[in-house]
Symmetry: C2
Subunit: 313 residues, 2 copies
């Protein structure tokens, strides 16, 4: 069975991070990086983004070696997006120390004919106006998912709500779900948010896992418990990458919600578990380090372990 192909748009960045486990200066980061590497374990990926002339071509070459289509990465004069953040003992929340958008400030995604024909779209956390522009350019995707953040929910609420009407799946964290819905309880928040457009909602809860809300009900997925969390950066994007990748590998599409709701729900559940498992590797080291040396058989083994941790006889 041939996987569907995924197009993702978002950031390629340098991150400087400090956590209780140590420091990493100007390492590779950005949603597109985490998403595409995680997704590439399951399905082919095309990426859209912009970098400055300081971005290492060796990394672009490495992505290509993973069969990630990097033709949508624009290299422009200037510096690459640079995020500086830190984590205290509570590894669930990052504190942003500085954000230098640099070349990302004038990013305007232009889709090639190949990009436009893609099966799946994942709109990582960027300006909702750009997310909408991508949706205006793709032809007939079988599934559209979106991530966002407090900055856009507060700053461009109308644009966020407009683009939400056009997506099938929204993947956000707990605090963002509270902010978007105006509700402090996830059951009530999920009802409000699913009323805004996406029929499927994923609420990411860091070390506590993820909740999946579908037309068929609720699925509660735990995070895979790791012995040492070094750097949680990119866990959410890795989750989303593996989640979409798994769906693509099963050739899932939105119509299943009508034609075979049980299959749709089951496939979404397994996709969430694939996301949880993959993200658990990301947090074991800084940057993409762990993900880049991850082998398919390790991922498989941990996936089975996680399944064992939630089954009951």
């Amino acid at each position: 069975m041939q996987s569907y192909e995924i197009l993702t748009v978002g950031s390629l960045a340098f991150d400087s991070i400090s956590s209780p486990a140590g420091k990493a200066d100007k390492v590779l980061g950005g949603s597109v990086n985490y998403f595409s590497v995680a997704a590439s374990f399951f399905a082919p990926v095309q990426i859209l983004g912009v970098v400055g002339e300081d971005f290492p071509t060796t990394h672009i070459d490495w992505l290509k070696s993973r069969k990630i289509d990097t033709s949508g990465v624009q290299v422009v004069p200037g510096k690459t997006f640079h995020w500086v953040g830190s984590y205290d003992q509570n590894l669930n929340e990052a504190k942003t120390l500085s954000t230098a958008l640099n070349v990302f400030e004038h990013f305007d995604p232009k889709l090639s004919a190949k990009h436009q024909d893609v099966d799946y779209v994942f709109l990582a956390n960027i300006d909702p106006v750009l997310q909408e522009s991508v949706l205006n350019q793709v032809k007939a995707p079988k599934l559209i998912a979106l991530d966002s953040m407090n900055f856009w929910i507060t700053g461009k609420p109308d644009e966020v709500k407009r683009v939400l009407k056009r997506v099938d799946i929204l993947s956000i964290n707990e605090g963002e779900a509270f902010l978007l819905s105006g509700e402090k309880n996830l059951i009530r928040a999920s009802e409000i948010i699913r009323g805004m457009g996406p029929s499927v909602l994923i609420v990411k809860r860091g070390e506590y896992g993820a909740m999946l809300f579908t037309p068929s009900g609720i699925f509660l997925a735990p995070a895979f418990p790791v012995a040492t969390v070094v750097d949680p950066t990119g866990a959410g994007d890795s989750f989303a990458g593996a989640f979409m990748g798994y769906l693509a590998s099963q050739r899932a599409e939105r119509d299943w919600a009508k034609t075979d709701p049980k299959k749709w729900d089951d496939t979404l559940r397994r996709a969430v578990l694939a996301g949880c498992t993959t993200a658990s590797f990301t947090v074991e080291d800084f940057s993409l380090h762990r993900l880049m040396r991850l082998e398919a058989k390790e991922l498989d083994a941990r996936q089975k372990e996680l399944h064992q941790m939630i089954r009951f006889g």
Copy 2:
């Protein structure tokens, strides 16, 4: 199949609570109350505790109507233990405003012949010296479980460690597990704690559920998501009550770990889910209000719902 019988020792109290949902003044509380009512859905329970003359006899009568053996409740001159606490928006953590031990200060559990013959013992969160005294009085229980808290782990660490050597199951919350083990990661903390005596460890995580560590591995159980959390007080004791009650209904015993490890692990997992489900009712109202009007069929229905929320096809 006749259930095993459970003996529990701990507090019967008045609680005054404020939470974002409102206030409740001098309502019924205490670990023994929550534990025994929750356990009584599954198995017979005997309770040990002390109350003052101000404690309502109507409540003791109500417990009796649930077939809870209250012969171990001493009524002595003076006032009943009174706890005053509050919760902010983060409903996972209580803030203690005042504690009046009153008659509880001189509590010394004396076991009758019937108490001494009991099958299961649950030592709720009280002075580890009293917990040990109970263990010195029971004859040959098939299973012993214990709860504790920061106050004792910090104040009487040697006594806590001594009693831990004699128990099969420890049920504590996340912060207590960190404090007891000196580790900030639950995987590492669980190894250290299980080395102290209890072969089974349950880590309660409030709205995020519970983790079960057994000789066979790890089980990750979510909390049942409720639409409105009114008062989390007693959730942990209700969890423990249903957990022990379920085990008692299955006539589980520590020897299963050797004779049938799969059955032992499976039964512990189902017991944890029974605990999560029962505790989810407790938090829906102040005090024991929701638990006291809970019907077996409601509990069954929600148990099935929770099972659906974690199964994957």
